[in-house]
Amino acid sequence: MRYWKTLTAAAVIASLGGAALAEEIYVPNLSYRTGPFAATGIPLMNGQKDYFEMLNARDGGIGGVKIAFEECETGYSTEKGVECYEKTKGNAVITQPWSTGITLQVLPKTNVDEIPLLANGYGFSPMADGKTFQWAFNAPAGYWDAASMLVSYIDGQGGIAGKKIAFLHLDHPYGKEPIPLFEKKAAELGFEFLPIPVGLKEMQNQSAQWLQIRRERPDYVLMWGWGAMNAGAITEAVKTKFDMSKFIGVWWSGHDADLALVGDAGKGYKSISWSFPNADAGVMADIKTHVVDAGKSLSNPEEMSGVFYGRGLVMSMILAEGIAAAQAEYGTGVITPAQLRWGLENLNITEARLAELGMEGMVPPFSTSCANHTGHSGGWILEWDGSKFVKASDHIMPDTSDYAELIAEKAAEYASANAPWPVNESCDAMN
């Protein structure tokens, strides 16, 4: 009997606590600090969390309203992802799904539940079409942006025509996505494109793939890898003495810990990225005073200087800017998911704004509109110097005209396959 009393008391307290939450904005994050991808997940999650902790401690939240940032652990499993989505969607203003599988699962529900979906730099590239995917955002850049930037970077390094480019990718929706664009560019610019898939089961043992690379002698190897595949490919490249300066990964293949495994031998390895860790930025100092010194951070100095932690900060910044924009537009503190959607559609991250936020050089400036949910920020080539990543190029922009048609076509395909699929009729901006 006594147990029941305690339980009831706990329930009453919990429900009272729920009432007190009303003056907060609930921002869930479907994190993965456990499971096979935890090594890459933890720095990203820490960055995201620390940015909101810092805003709460320094400014009392955004626009005076506290941000209730809460993680729901998925372990990168789609099943747990759905569980977390159902658990959080009641009060959430946003869904941050964090895996391609969970994104695909949640995407069709966005039109019904009307909660924005924010997949920074991942997810489904056609989400750039904001008219079709009203509730989904993948700012600041998608995979087709990355492919376009890589092609123009290689072209700038002495011409791409006649070169042979191998594309080492995870044999999964994520890895296959840029192939149509690469094939199109290969036909246009006259380079040879050679896709080399790595199955989910062969991520750690890529000897067959690298044997093929040795035989084919490509001029460049591009990589769309994730998790254990990155470390596998990098160690294999070192073993086969592949010229590291000709090996370029997408932004998810630029994790400091993967390169630290090979240290100096990895010197010259590159990765395209829309984020860069700037240890001298104002935001880092603020996080140090308000979060780290207050003992609220789960991170450590080594991790905080890495690319992925910095990327986590940028992701939270994008969301925070969306919240602030929505608050300013609607003149209210506690915003609704629909208002946040307006905010995310009207992001305008300029150099001046980045300086104000103390995030100079951490992300290229970009802006979104109701038709353009990506922003196409462009990015930099980062190079591993033996102990850390440094910027190795100027700001590169993607040529979005190359795949505007592809985006429209795939978005229309998605909409018709999921009919009835309401689109944003009121949006007349051009992508």
Partner: protein, 358 residues
């Protein structure tokens, strides 16, 4: 006391062989059915539908399919996940090629495809047994998942390489896709699972079930008394794969809404196998008990700390959860190696005799 069978006289053989010779069993089942059909739908939240009720039913059905093969016919299989995938992809192709087709008909038909594939991969069972057969079905697992990845026709050349469930209507109500309500989907799943359960119970109690059990217990003896082993093993593969295929179609169409090929990989096969083993091989009810333990319990454990007002990090809860569920599995297998169904059988027998232990 509650289970007292005194005074329940059976006056005919027919009544003695009835599904529920003890009145209390029928009563208990009635209560469960009332809960499943009336009380849960009326009280469950969206969260409960999506994370507890629907998945438990679907996993229980898949485990039931496996149980026919492994528990009743004694043929070990590790290809369950892939056979579920065959059902799901078949249903997807049926729906996209024939958009006018009734979704429930499509789901029931898709099992036919997986039954076909199952029989094909069951042929080695005529020559090999036990662990060796498990390896042969493992081949099905690898081959089929590879096929789901490589054969673009299966997912209609979709850019993402995944299948997305369209919005499907039946009599003016959306039954699948994002527009469908959880309640509708729950009732469809419940109806199909109930139907399959009744079929399975009768199948395993009847002539065919006895043939399977004879094959399981000693195949040479079974052959000597005139059982055609080829027919017995292949029908087990067919029936089992049919049920698993239907479970797979429900899995994607009534619950997940989208699926990528690696969803049907080995972890899914193992999960279903664990449900069947922990629930109890050679039992129908065990599948439900196993699914509740393996699928339902982690979800419930996840919300406990929050409901108690404890502030524990989500990742920590996840770690604790894995430990608790693991410990419980070991605990149940130690106190009753034959699974939860056997545990219930034991409890029931004690209850009937209670308060006299001998």
């Amino acid at each position: 006391m509650i289970y007292r069978t005194v005074g329940q006289f059976k006056t005919s053989y027919r009544r003695d062989q009835a599904l529920f010779p003890v009145r209390q069993d029928a009563f208990l089942l009635g209560v469960i059915l009332i809960f499943a059909w009336v009380i849960f739908p009326l009280t469950a939240s969206e969260f409960a539908f999506q994370t507890l009720l629907i998945p438990i039913l679907i996993y229980a059905l898949a485990a039931m399919g496996l149980n026919i093969l492994t528990g009743y016919a004694g043929q070990l299989s590790l290809g369950t996940g892939a056979f579920m995938g065959v059902g799901a992809y078949a249903c997807y192709k049926l729906i996209t090629i024939f958009p006018w087709m009734n979704p429930i008909v499509a789901i029931l038909l898709s099992g036919v495809f997986s039954a076909g594939v199952g029989v094909m991969f069951g042929i080695p069972s005529l020559r090999i047994k036990g662990f060796y057969l498990a390896i042969a079905t493992l081949a099905a697992q690898f081959f089929l998942v590879w096929l789901f990845e490589k054969w673009a026709w299966l997912y209609n050349y979709n850019a993402s390489g995944a299948i997305q469930v369209p919005n499907l209507e039946m009599f003016g109500v959306f039954v699948s896709g994002p527009q469908a309500t959880s309640m509708t989907q729950y009732f469809i799943v419940l109806a199909i699972v109930s139907l399959m359960t009744v079929l399975c119970i009768n199948l395993t109690r009847g002539n065919q079930g006895r043939i399977w059990k004879a094959t399981r217990d000693m195949d040479i003896a079974a052959e000597l008394i005139g059982i055609n082993l080829m027919k017995s093993k292949l029908t087990a593969f067919a029936v089992s794969s049919y049920i698993i295929g239907v479970a797979g179609a429900l899995f994607v169409f009534m619950w997940r809404g989208a699926a990528e090929p690696n969803l049907f990989d080995i972890p899914l096969s193992f999960r279903v196998l664990f449900i069947a083993i922990i629930g109890g091989l050679g039992s129908i009810m065990g599948n439900y008990l196993g699914a509740i333990l393996i699928v339902g319990l982690p979800v419930v454990l996840n919300i406990v700390p929050e409901a108690m007002g404890l502030d524990i990090k989500s990742a920590t809860v996840e770690h604790l959860n894995i430990m608790i569920v693991g410990a419980l599995i070991i605990f149940f297998l130690i106190i009753e190696p034959h699974g939860l169904a056997a545990l219930w059988r034991l409890v029931r027998e004690k209850l009937i005799l209670w308060p006299f232990p001998h």
